[in-house]
């Protein structure tokens, strides 16, 4: 006999496939518009999917809000810059790089993977200290970590260029490249959520005390999720750098932290689909606002929002979602195929 529980588990396996198809359709539609601005928006959105899904792997399963994940994106962006920039350029821009990095002139794919791995290694080391703290204390510590990374990056001028931008990153991030990484992040996130560690971590989210009475070592599972999560934020940071071609530490600081949190809150932290839908909803809303800021013409009149109203409107949208739909647009639900599609022939008999 097949139980409801088994059916739900099977339905859950369709989530990453449906989300991937949704993103594919999103890319196809925006490219069909044939508009360069739309293509840019698609790439940017998919990079954010990589970042926010990465973020969700930790925050969604553990229930611990991290303010530090923009720092992993920062590290990822610089690692990719260090390893891919033209050595002649690095000699003038970043004279303090160790010789191995100064001479490196890698292909962008190994650079992106290394960006993720370095971010993950940093998460493993810092998480080992931070994640011993409980809930809110851990959140505050992640914020301190973010501020520390930002300060170091802004002042370690010979290696990071300080507050002045590092320029000349190869602009290879097309919507398709970004789509590939976004789908990779979604697959990893859903595999993790379905794993033993994912279940254990959700147990700690529901009740820390009962989880330890179930033999669950909260610290270990949090650290694992934190590390995996940082990998995709590192990759997302690298993609963001190569998308614009210019990076500086403040591009990966408070406003990115705020944006990632806003997206997760709008979509709903309780599900992977929530993370993806949140990014799409906020990105599309922002795109619409940007176009309004530029102004549009209706007959003879031109309408335009004052510049800078974007952030305010995102904040207002987030507050409205928090008030009227506190669990986010998806409210913890996943996008899945309905039960009758996933139960095989044999089960219709009983």
């Amino acid at each position: 006999m097949i139980t409801q529980h088994r059916i739900r588990r099977r339905m859950a396996t369709t989530t990453p496939i449906l989300l991937a198809l949704l993103l594919l359709a999103f890319v196809a539609l925006t490219l069909a518009l044939g508009d360069r601005a739309a293509a840019r928006m698609a790439s940017e959105t998919l990079i954010r999917v990589t970042l926010v899904v990465g973020f969700w792997i930790f925050a969604g399963n553990s229930g611990v809000i991290s303010f530090g994940h923009a720092a992993f994106a920062c590290v990822g962006a610089y690692v990719s810059a260090w390893t891919t920039l033209n050595p002649a350029m690095k000699a003038t821009l970043l004279p303090g790089l160790p010789p191995a990095l100064a001479e490196a002139h890698w292909h962008v794919l190994p650079a992106a993977l290394t960006a993720g791995l370095v971010a993950a290694a940093l998460a493993l080391v810092t998480g080992a200290a931070i994640l011993r703290l409980s809930g809110i204390a851990a959140s505050i510590a992640t914020f301190a970590f973010l501020a520390m990374v930002n300060t170091i990056w802004a002042n370690w001028t010979p290696v990071t260029g300080g507050t002045s931008s590092v320029v000349g990153l190869a602009r290879y991030v097309t919507p398709w490249v970004a789509l590939g990484w976004a789908i990779a992040a979604i697959l990893a996130a859903s595999l993790y959520a379905a794993s033993a560690s994912g279940l254990a971590l959700r147990a700690t989210r529901e009740d820390e005390v009962a989880a330890s009475a179930s033999g669950i070592d909260q610290y270990r599972h949090r650290l694992l999720a934190y590390t995996l999560s940082a990998f995709f934020c590192g990759v997302g940071g690298a993609l963001a750098g190569h998308f614009i071609g210019v990076i500086n530490p403040d591009g990966f600081y408070l406003s990115l932290t705020f944006l990632m949190l806003a997206m997760l809150v709008v979509g709903g932290i309780g599900s992977l689909s929530g993370a993806v839908i949140g990014v799409l909803a906020v990105s599309l809303a922002v795109e619409a606002l940007v176009r309004l800021e530029k102004g549009f013409t209706l007959g003879t009149a031109t309408f335009a929002l004052p510049p800078g109203s974007q952030e305010i409107i995102i904040a207002v949208a987030m507050i409205l979602v928090l008030v009227f739909r506190p669990a986010g647009l998806m409210a913890g639900r996943e996008i899945m195929l309905p039960a009758r599609w996933v139960t095989g022939r044999g089960t219709s008999q009983n």
């Binding site: 279940l199 005390v209 009475a213 179930s214 033999g215």
Partner: protein, 242 residues
């Protein structure tokens, strides 16, 4: 071969919740722990399961000093517990609630779900398998909490007021379940209950706690005959009058 507290003292600030408490839980038997409100029963369970570090004395499992082990380490060493407040994982369904203990004990997810289904079957609770834990009726919630603690066949199970709020009939069913846990699974149980009748009907050995001290222990006759127990429960006046 037992799970024991040896001369355990626990203080919260200046308040001594436990003072020189020694007690033993025998394997395969049900030991009772009774005492008035605030006597220190839950603190005993917390100490026996790693949720509370003893300030003095030791917790010993099969000859091994456990005093410095974290709570999840106790569970992995075979000491399971339930909580006075139920504490199910509300956002997960019943099978996943049980499977959490499986993965906590190091099983893969499929093996954990298998173990969960077996325990539900043993308790006759298969029908609840796919229900969200958050909406369960009170008695089912209690039984699922016990089921969750039984995953992986622990050597000891500590039950903190499992029958609180149950009807006479439900409490009697629960007593039957606890007997089965001890006899069929060979698990040593500690049963905390305010319903003294229930405790005396199930337990071969009962420990009575009052004001953080063990004031009596023994079999049914010893407890019923004890002046100290009567005094703790009914106050000195009635004890003298009786």
């Amino acid at each position: 071969m037992t799970l024991t507290l040896e001369q355990v003292g626990v203080a919260f600030g200046g308040f001594r919740a436990l003072t020189e408490v020694s007690l033993a839980i025998a394997p395969g038997q049900v030991t009772g722990l009774i005492g008035p409100n605030g006597a220190g029963k839950t603190t005993c369970v917390n100490t026996l399961t790693g949720f509370q570090r003893p300030d003095t004395g030791r917790v010993v499992l099969e000859g091994r000093d456990m005093s410095r082990l974290p709570a999840h380490g106790f569970r992995r060493a075979g000491v399971a517990r339930t909580f006075q407040a139920g504490r199910l994982f509300g956002g997960l369904d019943v099978l996943d609630n049980l499977a959490c203990t499986g993965v906590g004990l190091g099983m893969r997810r499929a093996a954990a779900e298998q173990a969960a289904a077996e325990v539900l079957h043993w308790m006759g609770l298969e029908a609840l398998e796919s229900r969200p834990a958050a909406g369960l009726p009170y008695t089912d919630e209690r039984r699922i909490a016990i089921a969750r603690a039984l995953i992986g066949n622990p050597d000891y199970l500590l039950l903190d007021e499992p029958a609180a709020g149950m009807s006479e009939k439900e409490a009697a069913d629960l007593a039957g379940l606890i007997r089965r846990i001890a006899t069929e699974k060979g698990i040593g149980c500690l049963l905390i209950e305010h319903n003294v009748g229930l405790v005396l009907s199930v337990c071969a050995h009962v420990v009575v706690l009052d004001g953080g001290r063990v004031i009596e222990q023994g079999d049914r006759a010893t407890i019923l005959g004890s002046a100290a127990v009567r005094e703790a429960y009914f106050g000195a006046d009635q004890a003298e009058a009786a």
